[in-house]
């Protein structure tokens, strides 16, 4: 969790992406979570990070009520996208060890929370150093999915295909390609981890949508 270093462009980008489909950091009302993140940001986000800017201006309008907003302020690392590793202070090109003291130096005395956060960060830094990510073999596959006829609802067909959620499979962009007689096939890209997902399994899952799918072929297969 966490957004990375919110004083950096990368951190703000994470925040921006996180807020694209959210009005608030947590839940559907402004809370201490928003205040915690707001206070970690030094200046209004730039205009191109439009979601972060929208959120920033909105939370700013609550400045007078900030102490009365619901919730309890937690460490920054507790908010944000769940799948993001907290990399604050553990960046490979981190020049200053001051990063670890990020919260400590701001306060007169180090609070309980700040101490806990620093220890958490240290532990994460150690564990990140100790395990190097293994190189994962991936392939980019272009699939042709053919409907029964020209009356088939291609939007629903696409939804069915994209609803196939498997570990190691990421769907990419798609387009409809006419094949004659008014029939269009769905050409859709995906990236798979080779040892988790195979084309046989994909074919099985896709052709299982018998109402929409007549057949599936691999149009292109490239190792990444």
């Amino acid at each position: 969790m966490g957004f990375g270093d919110l004083k950096s462009a990368a951190g703000l980008q994470v925040l921006n992406d996180f807020l694209a489909d959210r009005s608030y950091i947590e839940g559907y009302v402004p809370s201490q979570a928003d205040i915690a993140v707001f206070e970690a940001i030094v200046a209004p986000p730039p205009a191109e990070l439009c979601h972060a800017l929208r959120w920033y201006n909105h939370i700013k309008s609550y400045e007078k009520q900030k102490t009365s907003l619901p919730g309890v302020k937690k460490a920054l690392g507790k908010y944000g996208p769940a799948d993001l590793e907290d990399t604050t202070g553990a960046a490979t090109d981190s020049k200053d060890d001051d990063d670890i003291d990020l919260f400590g130096s701001d306060d007169e005395e180090e609070s309980e929370e700040a101490k806990k956060l620093r220890e958490e960060r240290l532990a994460q830094y150690e564990s990140k150093k100790s395990k190097k990510p293994a190189v994962v073999a991936k392939s980019s596959i272009l699939l042709d999915v053919k409907p029964w006829d020209d009356e088939t609802d291609m939007a629903k067909l696409e939804e069915c295909v994209r609803s196939i959620q498997v570990d190691g499979l990421v769907w990419g962009s798609s387009k409809l390609v006419p094949v004659g007689y008014g029939i269009k096939k769905l050409q859709i890209q995906c990236v798979v981890e080779d040892d988790k997902v195979g084309t046989d399994m994909l074919e099985e899952r896709i052709t299982a949508f018998e109402d929409y799918v007549q057949s599936m072929d691999v149009a292109a297969f490239n190792k990444i």
Partner: protein, 172 residues
């Protein structure tokens, strides 16, 4: 029409059990009153209910905010209700998506009647969007998902699902 006004009454916390009728081919709602011909028109009745519920802030606080609220109420009745077909829908969603890029609510920072009536008006449209369309109109989806979680607004209307993981490549 009448069902929507009943929904609105409940979302405002009113227990009046008003009687609504409809008028004309376009089924304009009418609020029967004890004295006189009745109050006509969705926006007129809705604003009246808001005042009866003593929640005037839902009509906007500053002069500017009030104007923006009116703008979207008018938009709801003229553009959303008059919408026929995919092309109209596409234009509405495109307009709204651009508008909402830097706003949390239609009136900016505060929840107003504009959000409520636009939510009710757009519900059938949003419920039918594909995953790809919801992602394309990301700001509308964000706003809609927010409003449907607002206490007492959604009631018996279906919860429109918005998935968190972005499936389609970003196209800004």
């Amino acid at each position: 029409g009448p069902q929507e006004l009943a929904l609105l009454e409940r979302s405002l916390g009113l227990q009046e059990g008003n009687k609504y009728g409809v008028q004309g081919e376009r089924k304009i709602p009418v609020l029967q009153t004890n004295n006189g011909p009745g109050l006509i028109g969705l926006v007129t009745i809705a604003a009246h209910l808001v005042k009866r519920a003593k929640k005037e802030q839902l009509l906007g606080s500053t002069a500017e905010e009030k104007a923006v609220v009116q703008q979207w109420l008018e938009y709801r009745v003229t553009r959303v209700d008059g919408c026929s077909g995919k092309e109209d829908t596409r234009i509405i969603l495109k307009d709204l998506n651009m508008y909402l890029e830097d706003k949390v609510y239609l009136a900016g920072n505060n929840f107003t009647l504009a959000d409520i009536l636009m939510y009710y008006g757009l519900h059938p449209i949003m419920a039918d969007l594909t995953v790809q369309e919801k992602e394309k109109y990301l700001n509308v989806s964000r706003w809609f998902n927010h409003i449907q979680h607002y206490p007492s607004v959604r009631q018996h209307l279906s919860n429109v699902i918005f998935i968190k993981n972005r499936l389609y490549t970003n196209a800004h």
